[in-house]
Symmetry: C2
Subunit: 308 residues, 2 copies
């Protein structure tokens, strides 16, 4: 039976949940850090855990056949030279929490939640809600598609942006990257849910923001590389943007003294948009483990070249 090496700062919780499943023939070592894992590299055929913990030991596992990532962001592994193994990711579990995140902010901003939450006198002025507005979602995979479907439940029109404009569930229309200006024209809301690849670098720049409806809301729940921070701040300061919500930053954690904290109408949510439920990750690993020992196709395989 294959030896499994688990590396995660949640190693103890992983161990409890995995051992409770009584996987057939499982022999696993659980480590919280890469250094601790080194002693178990020789025998490991399967690695399971956080990409940034696995990357440092990747070259040191001669028997390696399969890596199951416990996170959506797999860039540390893609940046390693080694590619002679199967890499699987986690998908279909971030749609619901990301929908919560995006709708929390759209509803919160449009329905003036902060003002009402701290109100000390009667004020019955209202502004229009979400119904009839138009959202553009960059990234139409399982997460973007889930968010789009949730937006439809609120009567929001949905546009998607992807590489070739292929139609995806939840979207009224999808645009290819070559028609990004048309995609962005007159959007009330722009949401980025993109993977970190060279194709997504700096996509949200002054040019793109200039196409949005004045006072639009921008939300980034994906990766930080797509945002040109200076352009975003300028658009907020000029009023071209009403609000921006950033879950991810090029530097994390963002230091207390960083000037972005002080930008008006910029909200920084400290990488909490789609928290990973440990139970869901373990479910994916155990299901794929059964498939692996049965010689079946694994779920959520990553294509090293595409990067997702």
């Amino acid at each position: 039976m294959p030896e499994v090496l688990v590396i995660s700062r949640h190693a103890q919780r992983f161990a409890e949940l995995i051992e409770a499943r009584q996987l057939p023939g499982l022999e696993a070592h659980y480590c919280e850090q890469s250094e601790e894992a080194l002693q178990h590299c020789d025998g490991a055929e399967i690695l399971f855990g956080a990409p940034d913990c696995i990357a440092p030991v990747l070259a040191k596992c001669p028997r390696l056949r399969w890596v199951q990532s416990s996170w959506a962001g797999i860039k540390p592994l893609l940046e390693c030279q080694r590619r002679d193994y199967r890499l699987t990711g986690v998908k279909d579990i971030f749609g619901p929490p990301m929908s919560e995140y995006v709708l929390a902010w759209l509803l919160g901003l449009e329905r003036q939640l902060v003002q009402h939450a701290t109100a000390r006198h009667w004020d019955d002025t209202t502004k229009p809600g979400l119904a009839g507005k138009t959202i553009g979602i960059m990234g139409t995979g399982s997460i973007g598609s889930h968010v789009a479907g949730t937006c439809k439940a609120f009567g929001i029109n949905t546009r998607g942006l992807n590489s070739d404009g292929r139609q995806q569930a939840g979207f009224d229309a999808c645009f290819p990257l070559s028609r990004i200006a048309e995609f962005a024209t007159n959007l009330d809301y722009l949401v980025a849910l993109l993977p970190d690849t060279s194709a997504t670098d700096n996509l949200l720049d002054a040019e793109l923001l200039s196409h949005l409806k004045p006072g639009a809301i921008v939300i980034n729940g994906g990766r930080a590389n797509c945002i040109v921070e200076g352009d975003l701040v300028a658009a907020l300061e000029s009023g071209q943007l009403g609000h921006a919500v950033l879950d991810v930053m090029r530097q994390e954690p963002l230091p207390d003294e960083h000037p972005l904290w002080a930008v008006k109408n910029l909200h920084i949510t400290s990488h909490t948009a789609a928290p990973t439920r440990v139970e869901s990750i373990i479910e994916i690993f155990c299901d794929n483990y059964h498939r692996y020992i049965a010689g079946e196709e694994l779920h959520y395989p990553i294509d090293f070249d595409r990067g997702y």
Copy 2:
């Protein structure tokens, strides 16, 4: 052709929208206040407008046959003795804005929107979201049913409460008023969307609140009569409730010096939950006007005895 008397503080906007529709044979007078309307009462066969503006002239319209309310809250008309006319209300237009309101608060509180909106340093602690939680909605008409359906989109379990426990769309289960304790047991969220009737008076009292899960969230988007304010405040202060959100108060506008403004974790939203879109109201009136002159059934008739 029937003479129409419109009384609303939005009379001018109503006039623009109605006249643009060129209703067949329409002869209408538009007044902003009851006093101004008195001179037109003699000929009025149809009254259209705000119940509190119509009530004072109701007895003074000898030819009256039909009243179309421009609001959901029709109590001022139900309290008049006169009942020899057809009364129609407005329905099916408050579901979407009420869903926005309820979800804005559930998402905002669970996803810690206020903290994030005002954050000045990195904090990536998270708490579980809405998926898997259980909501109880008191009132399962068109508004409650819409809110329940929207909750389902977020993976929330939905219980409804109505007079006889009849099943309604959007709800996993509906309970009759006689089983209200069972309905409330272990709820994460309790939302009241009830009409103001004697059957709903003081339903939300200490006894009912004691059945909820500790730290539950209570939202009242209906009418104020169902809340025992003292019990609600006590439950907030003891921690039995995590948060309460009240859109409606027994006294409106709530004066600045009222002690409720200062209660921790109590949020008062100044009767903004489901703002009426004038266009939707006019649509209902014009449709019913066509039906009236054609001798057809009117939409949204009110039963004087049931009160809705």
